[in-house]
Symmetry: D2
Subunit: 437 residues, 4 copies
């Protein structure tokens, strides 16, 4: 159903083409400073139309807090938030009333409920996720304030383009900031004015590196870092915090766009500064709750924690993470194949998750399928479709991770009635810049 | 916590070295024929010591029904079941009282609860899963009776040994029976009597094919199918229903045993005959509940459904499953990249899941770790350890899948108040035998 | 917390002086016709200012459906509804910032949350109940449509004025309609124009009977039924469907108003046409869920079902309800001391509940209490207060009863997967009119 | 269903004539000393056959802890407990297989589940409550240890015999100990040896006061306190801690026994030393949870808190409890009409509840009812029946109150992450002895 969590509990509502979408967040700790300004940034990050279109949709997805806050502080009562659907123009209804769209939920909704939202994806639309992002922003703020816990997510693969293995690992150990993810992962498409010189265009990153439009490979020349070409150009967000990989992703996405096709990818989400002792065996293990949280996100097809599927090829003697003193009475894992939990309980190490997201189901090319009545039918859905949703996924995964961890903290506090502990900050000099270039 | 499910609801109890383990299953439909004989077979399949040791432990893990059944039929009241811990001899306590075992939950339990079972894995032990298997057997029986739904699980990878891709796919489309899994996946290790001729031994499958002891590669010669060598030999269960792959797995496991090491693998679980319309968006999507169910199992590190992580490399035009008439008013998906759900709701197609299970954490070789107090310590745990738990995993995954699907059926019935529908049986001639040889 | 129900599940939000109050109703069956017009009437019935003030607040408490409905039919997705707080003028803050109001929740909220809504009752205000009434209206519509189940509630006692015992019993057996409750229970206060002839005023009921202003005793004279005096006068709603008792209640309430005091009473709620078999022992018995529902309503101090507290004085031989054939394969209870349940499961007979509601805590007269800091303090809260909230309680109790019964129906459907049954309508000639005069 | 609680969560199982009854208690705080000796006393207090029959059933209802405890301390893992049904001799099945017993749940179970325990009350039997008492004993121990919270319950009315009003109030303000309840409320029936002198018998209390066998009125003569007549006689427990009232109750119960009839009564349950701030508005208010807990107990027909039904006749100016400084930064209510909660949140004052329990449904005299098939039938159930279950109710009500309050404590700790506070002990000189004589 539409409620998630035991103590910190989120209930959402809203269809894609109705009045709006929103949520009630119950169990928000009282006396926390909170205004719309704490929630809006993540909503803005998940908004469609950021890439190359940012200014046109600048006004979109504005959140309003309806209850639970007074004079800028939470009351401990249910926090209701709503985002109006400004773009209520009807979806291309004719195209989907006859035949269920392959890869979409039109058919299963129809069978399950005996009806479905006639005007678009309804509840199965990505628009539903706005409410999760809003609730997640509240959870995140509390986690950070209370325990110094940070949640970040980035794009690690798009189609067959993966972050180099060493970069991926370095990022998991020393997660980048959101600012890094947003800036390093953003390229500008620079096209010459004359249309006959299109092949002289390139992508450029914030540091002035240029990349081929056709496949994202590095070009020798380098422009001024953050120069006017960059700041004034049409931005392509990838949220992959490694510019050379991001460039290849940009090229691939633009190619798919011209082909009226789409693809998927993998997002990596890391939670650091996690209190030790979270998770409630034997069914509500922390990774079980996180798996549910992530797999409840539209289009997800896989979840892994720590070593994941690759790890099952390791030997026990390699996979076991040995312990060492952490310095504040706690222990530390010297490696993190476990990905931050042991026996379903957080160890304090970074929780490292990867989520597989399938190719966007909405494509413009015709598909040979059948109608709701079983008659053969060629389905063509007009409209601009997003070739890859990955770049918009991070705020959503961050939100769901934060909601899950916050709830786990509160459940553990119910048990102990005592402060939770986190591992001391390790002085791992951020080697991020070296690694990611 | 230790309760799973909304309407069909399982609550478990029991530590590894206490009086016993068991469960209360609430929400069991009344008037269902049920005795211990319905539950015991799956418990027997998960029992340790089957491989090459079967007769020695033949009496183990006997379930008793304590309530909820009268005259062989369920009453609709809570069904309590218990399995006594016959082997209560104390665990090698001294070895783990000083230092937490790497890869185990000793440390996190200690921090979370401020205590832990001193006599072994306690609640984090695999023994906890007995209660799930027992409850799962009840769910399975109901699903089969009510909807013809079948749940099977097999081992598809151990370490780097994978089922060939085409075999894997054929099995997912036409899942084998449990009998197939148990017989095709079982090999006998035939050793010559004289110890100096050890290198003349071989593995033999039920059809009489022989395989190398060193790496499982096929040997040219063939014996009588199901002959005395097979029926009287020491059996090695793999639960991988493809004998050539199973042979390689056996060789690998036996090697790891001599090396005092362990490894992991992947189990594939398929549910067929699933009613259409199960799953409760937006948070209790069917795949989300299944992911939670599977990731709550000890040692799991990853979950995928349908195309999974590999699928994210596909194009939308390839990944989308187009529809066709199914013949009873329902539609069918012509491919099954989705893995049986759309938008979190079952489509009626096979639900195909894969679960990554890490290397067994218990290894005999010494490990450089530290004590609970943070002092450096070399940990050696004596005792015979299982180099790979995968062969024992299928009854457990089947049980958790069945519990999840049964609960989803009941939740959907609450909505409709009407019978649920499944896809008509397709006359897919079982090509299993050709494929798997 | 702010969620109620298992399958039909209501989550509410909103403080008394914020933007608005509302709810998300999850689990609403799809394909049900539903618009704001189905919800508004009950909201209008609970609205303050109906009595003698109706026209001044005519615009208040307008509900808007935000999601879950398309083209006038439910989608099966979460139904969100909101009522804006039109009257956001600040509460008399100064009077309550220093000292917690006796009988109110100011103090306990402050201790529990470490804060409280500074601008009035916040979440503890009666305004919170709007969301319950809205959700209840949806539950009621479904119950009536699906099973012919009806929920009504009336005022049976105010202070020491009780419905005569025989009238009370007759109403419980043959519950009146809401229209009866609203019309029979409404009197008009007729005052002569000249203020020095105030003692010549009277109350008049819809049938033209007149009653003393001082104590509600009948006056001999009778006016035209529903005459202009009645239709144009200032109406006093009691929701006690027995005019002579209602008249006494009106006199008492008006007296308390002049005394700046308040009082409480008892409301009786009856659900008829209840399917047999609802309620989930052993903890979620139907009466247990109903008790929780009712005792979660502000100001309630007691709950009883069937014979209630008086019944404990009966002998078993009197109290036991013997059975008889009902005519459709079901049995009927010949008496209804049980109040519609046996062993926590509905028997199909009327569910008869009585709820004690304490005197309104807000009174204008000074109270000797202390400040939040423990200093002695004389508290005087200015403003017009309602001397008795009972007349506004019925829509709220009806709503909570309907939500509880609807949820119980769905839980039972999950078990059976079969239609639920109700007792056949008994041709009990409505003796209501005779009885109630 | 059979699970109660959110964090401290009890799940029960067992029918009256099966192998046994028991429970799993999840969420038990770790490191608490706990053995069967902590649980057994309350089970012994609820056991049938204490009155005048104690020795015959001395061995009954022995609890065994199956899991969750090691070396006498809780592990924080699920605590399973079981009581075997020693007396599995079959119920008089023939008498109830034809016709449902009036006042019992035979009929509604049959309709709800389509079956029922053929061998007695099954799950609807009072035997189910054993599991609650066992779980309650654990909750109680934790509450007392952690917060000094005490839960006691006594019988305040049987049929028309009530504790005098002033005594009742004094007990609510200064609750007696369990020892007081058990000793003051126990009388011995002294009968002369010769059967023709039966009218020379009397009841005698522990202090040597004698009371008439016919109506319990005091007899002038006084024997030695705790003399041999008392210590060696057949004890009648009433659990009404006021001997003169208890004597009248004994006489009434014995009379009903000869008449093959039964009756009900009221039990009062008081929780003192309650932390301030418990209860989760708006639906999970403390009194709402308590009402559900109590109304889930078999045979309960009413619940009230504080002033209850009588209180609704009071004026607001009387009913409002004014505040005063408590001395440790908290406030105290100068009166306690509220009964320990305000706005659904505990104020720290005694929680005072009264529960109405109907006449025992099992009576030996014939009843004119009908068969399951609707045929008229005269039902006579042979066997010795308890004329009044009230004296056995206190341990059960205490248990359910303790479970509810313990869970509320943990939910509040989840919010605050800080220690809970209780009111300082008031030096209210125990006036109990004066009052109760």
């Amino acid at each position: 159903m539409s409620t998630f969590g035991t103590i910190f509990r989120v209930t959402t509502f809203g269809e894609s083409h109705g009045i709006g979408v929103g949520c009630i967040v119950d169990g928000v700790p009282p006396n926390m400073e909170l205004t719309e300004a704490d929630v809006q940034p993540q909503l803005t990050r998940r908004r469609p139309g950021q890439s190359a279109l940012t200014t046109q949709r600048n006004e979109g997805d504005v959140v309003q807090i309806l209850s639970g806050v007074e004079n800028g502080r939470t009351l401990g009562t249910p926090l209701a938030m709503m985002v109006k659907n400004q773009d209520q123009r009807k979806f291309d209804y004719a195209s989907v009333s006859t035949a269920p769209r392959p890869g979409h939920a039109d058919y299963t909704y129809q069978v399950k409920y005996g009806t479905r939202a006639s005007s678009g994806g309804g509840r199965a639309s990505a628009r539903e996720t706005i409410a999760r992002v809003a609730a997640g922003a509240v959870a995140e703020k509390w986690l950070d304030q209370e325990h110094g816990t940070k949640v970040v997510c980035w794009v690690s693969s798009i189609m067959d383009i993966d972050l180099p293995r060493d970069v991926a690992l370095a990022l998991e150990n020393n997660p980048p900031t959101r600012e890094d993810i947003d800036t390093i992962g953003t390229l500008v498409e620079v096209l010459p004015a004359a249309s006959d010189k299109q092949d002289q265009g390139y992508f450029i990153d914030k540091d002035g590196h240029k990349y081929s439009l056709s496949d994202g490979s590095p070009l020798g020349n380098k422009a001024e870092a953050g120069g006017t070409e960059f700041t004034e150009g049409k931005k392509l967000y990838t949220r992959c915090p490694h510019a050379p990989t991001a460039a290849r992703m940009c090229a691939r996405i633009q190619l798919l766009r011209t082909q009226e096709d789409s693809t998927g990818g993998v997002a990596t989400c890391v939670v650091s500064g996690v209190p030790v002792g979270l998770g409630e065996p034997c069914f509500d293990k922390l990774e079980a709750e996180l798996a549910k949280a992530m797999m409840s996100i539209p289009a997800t097809k896989g979840f892994e924690i720590g070593s994941g599927f690759a790890g099952m090829r390791m030997r026990g003697s390699e996979h076991n993470d040995c312990f060492a003193a952490a310095g504040n009475g706690l222990l530390r894992c010297e490696t993190n194949n476990a990905g931050g939990t042991l026996g379903g309980i957080s160890s304090g190490e970074n929780i490292v998750m990867r989520v597989a997201i399938k190719a966007a189901s909405s494509i413009s090319q015709p598909q040979e399928t059948c109608t709701f009545d079983g008659e053969k039918h060629t389905l063509s859905t007009v409209g601009r479709h997003d070739p890859c949703v990955l770049p918009r996924a991070p705020p959503l995964l961050e939100g769901m991770a934060a909601i899950t961890i916050a709830d786990a903290c509160m459940r553990q506090r119910a048990r102990t009635g005592a402060p939770l502990k986190t591992l001391p900050q390790v002085d791992r000099k951020r080697k991020h810049d070296e690694v990611t270039k």
